[in-house]
Every structure is written in C-alpha cells, then in structure tokens.
C-alpha cells in the first residue's frame, strides 16, 4: 500500500526540516528528536517503494552517525580524523534536509504540485515558473548525457586537457539546447492556453488525510521542542 501525502504536507516538512538542520543538537534528547525526524522521510521512501534510495540514505546516515559518535572525539588528531570530522558532521547535520527534499521531488507529480500551490493562493506566475523548473531537470539530464557521449567520442575528458576548456565544451552545447527547448516549450504552452485571464483549474483534487495531519503535528512539535530546549532553557 502506498501512502499518498498531500503536497502541502510535503512542503511543510521541507520547511521544518530545513529549519531544524540549522540548529545543532546538543543533548541526547535533541539528538533523538533529530534522528527520528530523519527516519520519517526514509520510512516514507520505503512506503513509496524507493527501496534502493532508502537503503543508500540509511547506510550513509548511520555510518556518519556511528563514526562521529563512536570514533571521534574533541581530541582526535591527525589528518584523517580531521577530514572525517568535517565530512561526517556535514552529513549528520544536513542529510535530513537532503533526504526530505529527495523524497518530495521524487514523489510529487507536477500536476499535484501546481494544484497545491493554487490552493495556497500562490500567484500563477510563481507556480508556473517553479513547475517549469521541475520539468526541466529530466531534460537537462537527457541533454547532458548526450553531450557527454559526444565528448567521449571526441576523446575530450577531464584530466590531461585544460579544465576550463572542458567545462566550456560541456556548457556551450547544453546552454544552446536548453535555450532552444525552453523557447519551443513556451510557444507550445501558450498555444494551449497558458497565461490566460481565466482562473486555472486542476483535476488533482487534494485532500488532507489523517496521515497528513499526524505528520504536520509531529513536525511542528519537533520544531517547538528544538526551539524551547535550545533557546528557552
């Protein structure tokens, strides 16, 4: 059974998690809250059948946690431990936001997203631009991989050659094709009525379910908890 969350809940989750990762956990209690918050999007990923991604995130996050708690302390010395401290703390600190964002991007359809934005009375201009950005990611990926193939065939690779040249070779064709695609895309969209004065409708009917309210409640509680214990006490 797949758990379908409302896009508004997902946006709210991103918002809260981003706020929480900016506050460092100092007591074991706060750590517990933080880890729970990381586990929720991972569980949601499993519910949406993204097993491989969930596994990858879990392994990475727990490895970083383990290393930074078990093997490193304030008086670790040497290059390796300095490197590890930096690396692991970045992962432990910011991974929750990355996981949540990944979950939201992967599981939200553009239609749902647009509909959610409309329900929140965000102006169409902003909604449409964001939707186009979301639509463009796979396009850029496709274009980029063809360009990489072309470079491979010409024997242009990193290493040996001039790095700025190689970056330029990648960027010029990519920019050209993205600009062209963007131009044709907007022409196609306006012939189908985008940008009219009529209020846009949406077939995606969104309804907040029990799971939505529960998650919103949990995440709000977590935020309040963090703020109270860190700054009020």
């Amino acid at each position: 059974m797949a758990l379908k969350l409302d896009p508004r809940t997902k946006l709210f989750m991103i918002f809260i998690v981003s706020a929480v990762v900016m506050m460092s956990a100092t007591t074991p209690l706060l750590w517990a809250v933080r880890i729970t918050m990381t586990m929720i999007p991972i569980l949601l990923l499993i519910a949406e059948k993204h097993y491989a991604a969930a596994l990858r995130f879990i392994v990475l996050y727990s490895a970083a946690l383990l290393i930074s708690f078990k093997f490193l302390s304030e008086n670790s010395k040497g290059f390796l431990s300095a490197f590890l401290v930096g690396y692991c703390s970045i992962i432990v600190q910011f991974m929750p936001a990355v996981i949540t964002a990944w979950y939201v991007v992967r599981t939200t359809k553009i239609g749902e997203f647009v509909s959610a934005m409309q329900k929140m009375h965000v102006p169409d201009g902003i909604t449409i631009s964001l939707a186009v950005v979301m639509r463009f990611f796979p396009t850029i990926k496709e274009e980029y991989s063809s360009i990489r193939d072309a470079m491979k065939m010409r024997g242009i690779m990193f290493g040996g050659g001039n790095v700025t040249d190689v970056v330029e070779y990648r960027m010029i064709p990519l920019l050209f094709s993205c600009v062209n695609i963007g131009d044709e895309l907007s022409a196609a969209a306006v012939t189908r009525g985008l940008g009219g004065k009529v209020k846009r409708t949406s077939v995606q009917e969104l309804k907040m379910g029990g799971a939505d309210y529960m998650l919103i409640l949990m995440f709000t509680a977590a935020l309040v908890f963090f703020v109270v214990f860190k700054y009020m006490k």
């Binding site: 239609g111 274009e143 072309a150 242009i156 330029e168 050209f176 695609i181 189908r192 009219g196 949406s202």
Partner: protein
C-alpha cells in the same frame, strides 16, 4: 456560420532580425472540414503559415507583418493567444520540447486546466479522448520513457482534449518510424471524419496522399502551386522533384522493406572485403553485481538488448540500418562506436582488432541532434579538436572537400542545420575514423537536403570510408543506400544488397 474557417489575406511577414521576407503576399482561404497539406522546401514558409493560424505570429515571434488573418471569425491580430486555445490546436515537430508535464496524464489535461474547465468536465474529456485514441496503455507513465511515436500520440491527445475546430500539425512525422506514421495517418483520418479542419505541414508526403483534400506547395514565402488531393496522389517522381518535394509515390518494395510486418528476410553476404563484427552482446538490464562485472555472452540470450554473434559490413558502401523505433538500432550504433563500455564485441578490419575503448577511434557517430556535438567557437577549432597532431593544412583540406572552408572562422552554432552536420562529419574524418555512423541524419529534412546528405554519404564511401546510417525514410533508402541491414529486438534479421 460561414463556409470559410481560415482566411489569410495578402500577408507579408518578416521575422525580426531576418534578412528577407518569410512570407510574401500569401493569400489562402481554407474551408471548414477541409484537410490541407502544406509542402515545400525548408525555409519556404510552411511553418510561418502554421504560425499565422495559431497566432504565434504576430503574438509570440516578433517581426513586421502586413495583411489580415481571420480564423473562425476572429481577427488574429486583435485576439490574444489564450483565447485561441479552444479554437486552434497545434501538434509540433519535436516531441522533446512540446510537453509541459513529465507524466502522460498531466499532459493530456494541461490544456483544459488552462482554460479553466471544471475538474469533472476535464475528467470526462480525458476519458473520451483516451477511449477514442486507445491510450489506456500509455496512461500514468513518464513522458521521458516513451518512444517517439508514443510521444506524438500523447501530443495529439493533449491537443484534441481542447476540442479545437482547427488542428495544425507542423512536420509531425519527422522523428517517426513507419508504424508510427500509420498511426498518425489514422489519427488524422479520425479527425477528418469528425469534421475538423486539419492543416498539415510536412516533408514526408506519401503517407497523407489518401487524406489530403487539397495540397499547397510553397517556395520562398509564396504559394507556387495548388493540387487537388486526387491530382496530388498521382504525381510522378519527376514532377515532385521539379518542386523540390520528396516523392508522393514510393516504390512498394521499399515501403514494405521498412514496415515492420515484412516477412523475415535472409542474411546473405557475398563479399570478401568487409569489416567484421564479432560477439556484440549488450544489455541495459544488467544483473546486480558486487565485485566483478560479468561479461555478457551469447548464453544470456533472453536478457540481451543487443545480440550479434557475427556480422560483416561491406567496406566502401553505404549500408542502411532499418527497424522500428526502439528496436535496437541506436543501441547497435552506440555499441559499435564504443559508447557503451560494457558491450563486449570486437571490430576486425585489415587484420587488426579493435575492442572496448579502441572502438572509439575506429568508428565515429554523427548524432541525430548535431548541436550536441559542436563544442568550440569556430569551425576550424572544431575540426582541430579531433586531430591528435593539429595539422592546420590537413584541416583546411578536409573543410574544402566538404565545402566549409569559407566558414572556417564562423561559430558552428551560427550555421544552418546541414552545415552543422557537415562540420560534425569533418571532425569525424579528422579523427581518422574509418567506420562512420549516422543516426537518422535525414529526419526533418526536405528533398534537396536529403539528396545532399545522400551524395555526401556516397562521397565518403567512395573515398574509402564505410558508412552505416540508421533511417526511417524509404525514399532515402531507395535513393542512396547500397545495402540494408534490418534489426529487430537487437538481432540482425536480414541483410540485403539493394543494387
């Protein structure tokens, strides 16, 4: 209600920054329910006529325009684009850039959502369209995983969902194989039956000959000839050639050859001097591995996307690689030129063997979208980039043979499509490639350009290169290919010498 639905009166148009007029005193009236075919060379103004009717000229593409366009009683110059959305629908050439959504369902309902229909209405329209066009299998899929033909079907559905009176198709078949063209033909026939006005701008003419009521031929921005559908269907090869059009009537042999239903052919190879391919096995669905990648072998037959134990390619000839969309033509070419590292396979030529990475130097692919292959800021640099010894004299020699020497200091992106293609070929020659691969080089080209590509490939073959070209154009195979190699599900099913 008048009988005339589109009225173009003496329109002259020039794009902003362009040298000449794109349209020169064009007048055209189109009757309700008519199926009109627009043909003519690239740059003759077909697309501009389409843009006049859907309002992209003058509202989206800037330029100067005189004359009047009336569509369904609306004066286009005073009508906003979104007001036209329910009246005129357009299917564009490039499926890659006309989709707004990333999923099929979202795409079909995109138009109706824009014009503010109620959700119930949109859902019932969607169901109706899906039923009419048999799209059940395509629902709830990502648009990025569909084949070209499937994408074009979704594009047609998303236009039809707005229930427009007039449907415009701008070179819709450019990237389609024969079976998808048949499907497109059937969609147009259904629209015609429903009494819609259909206007198609197209280079590939044969598949529409039984549908067009009237055919307009354009040249340099003016209408030069008009045929009734019946006259058009009987045009001979020499007549179409005079108007620089692709043929209307194509040799049945080649039509049958390229359509998938053709009975299994045979593989007869009677030449001694060839490039030999051995053990080409490859799969996109590799089993997960932990430490060591296992090489693909003939034993994995069921899971292989490409399975060619042995094949000879004649040297110094042009061989067409045919087969429907998604059947492994591109995979074959990609493996041949070494882009798929995991592909086993050895190319043997003149007693030398090339495997893995070394295949890259031996063979070179000119991609369908040449824009991806041009990296530098001048044509000369582009060719030098491929040379190991940076020999300027040889570079000029190559450019000269391809007629590009005068452009050597120009930016490759500022050239025309055909010139870009030749720059890519020049870099292939400069890289010293013996086996030249072309991935659908003629899609979207008019007759003259198609002929030019044919001559170019012949020239390459005569000067000792071996050319493999994947294509869906029967007219192109007829004109300039020496042999045909048919691929089906990653297997070679037939090899024939055509002349």
């Amino acid at each position: 209600m008048t009988d005339t639905i589109v009225e173009i009166k003496n329109v002259t148009h020039k794009y902003k920054g362009a040298a000449g007029n794109t349209l020169d005193g064009v007048s055209l009236s189109i009757k309700r329910g008519e199926t009109l075919l627009l043909c003519g060379a690239s740059g003759s103004g077909k697309t501009s006529v389409i843009r006049l009717i859907n309002g992209l000229i003058p509202h989206y593409y800037q330029g100067t325009m005189t004359g009047e366009v009336t569509v369904n009683g609306l004066d286009i110059s005073k009508t906003q684009l979104y007001e036209l959305a329910g009246v005129v629908g357009t299917v564009f050439q490039n499926p890659r850039s006309q989709f707004f959504s990333v999923d099929t369902d979202g795409e079909i309902v995109f138009g109706p959502e824009n014009i503010g229909l109620s959700p119930e209405e949109i859902r019932s329209r969607k169901e109706e369209i899906v039923g009419q066009m048999n799209l059940d299998k395509l629902l709830d899929r990502s648009l990025f995983e569909l084949s070209g033909g499937e994408k074009q079907r979704i594009a047609c559905a998303s236009v039809a969902a707005l229930l427009p009176e007039i449907i415009l198709l701008d070179e819709p078949s450019s990237n389609l194989d024969m079976d998808s063209m048949k499907m497109l033909h059937d969609i147009v026939r259904e629209w015609k039956r429903q009494g819609k006005t259909v206007i198609v701008s197209e280079h590939r003419l044969w598949y529409l000959k039984d549908l067009a009521d009237r055919v307009i031929c354009m040249e340099n921005g003016a209408i030069v000839r008009e045929w009734t559908g019946r006259e058009f269907a009987d045009l001979s090869g020499t007549e179409t050639k005079n108007f620089k059009l692709r043929p209307v009537n194509i040799n049945e042999h080649y039509l049958a050859l390229l359509s998938e239903k053709e009975k299994e052919g045979s593989i007869d190879q009677h030449f001694s001097d060839g490039i030999r391919l051995k053990d080409f096995y490859f799969s996109y669905h590799r089993k997960p591995y932990i430490l060591r990648k296992r090489e693909f072998t003939a034993a994995d037959v069921d899971s292989l996307s490409l399975c060619i134990p042995e094949l000879d390619i004649p040297k110094g000839k042009v061989t067409a690689v045919i087969g429907s969309n998604g059947t492994g033509k591109s995979t074959f070419l990609r493996c041949l030129c070494g882009l798929e590292n995991d592909c086993t396979g050895v190319i043997a030529s003149d007693g030398k063997e090339y495997r893995k990475k070394h295949r890259i130097g031996f063979s070179y692919m000119v991609m369908q979208d040449v824009n991806h292959q041009l990296f530098t800021d001048s044509v000369e640099k582009e060719v030098l980039l491929s040379m190991k010894d940076k020999d300027v004299n040889r570079c000029h020699e190559i450019l000269n043979t391809l007629g590009l020497l005068e452009f050597k200091d120009k930016h490759p992106m500022a050239l025309s499509g055909g010139q870009k293609q030749r720059v890519a070929i020049a870099s292939a020659i400069a890289a010293g490639a013996e086996l030249l691969l072309f991935d659908e080089p003629t899609s979207g080209l008019d007759y003259a350009h198609m002929e030019k590509v044919g001559e170019l490939l012949h020239g390459l073959a005569e000067s000792g290169g071996t050319v493999l070209v994947s294509t869906h154009d029967p007219e192109f195979v007829e004109e300039c290919c020496d042999c045909t190699l048919r691929i089906k599900n990653g297997r070679v099913v037939s090899f024939e010498e055509s002349r």
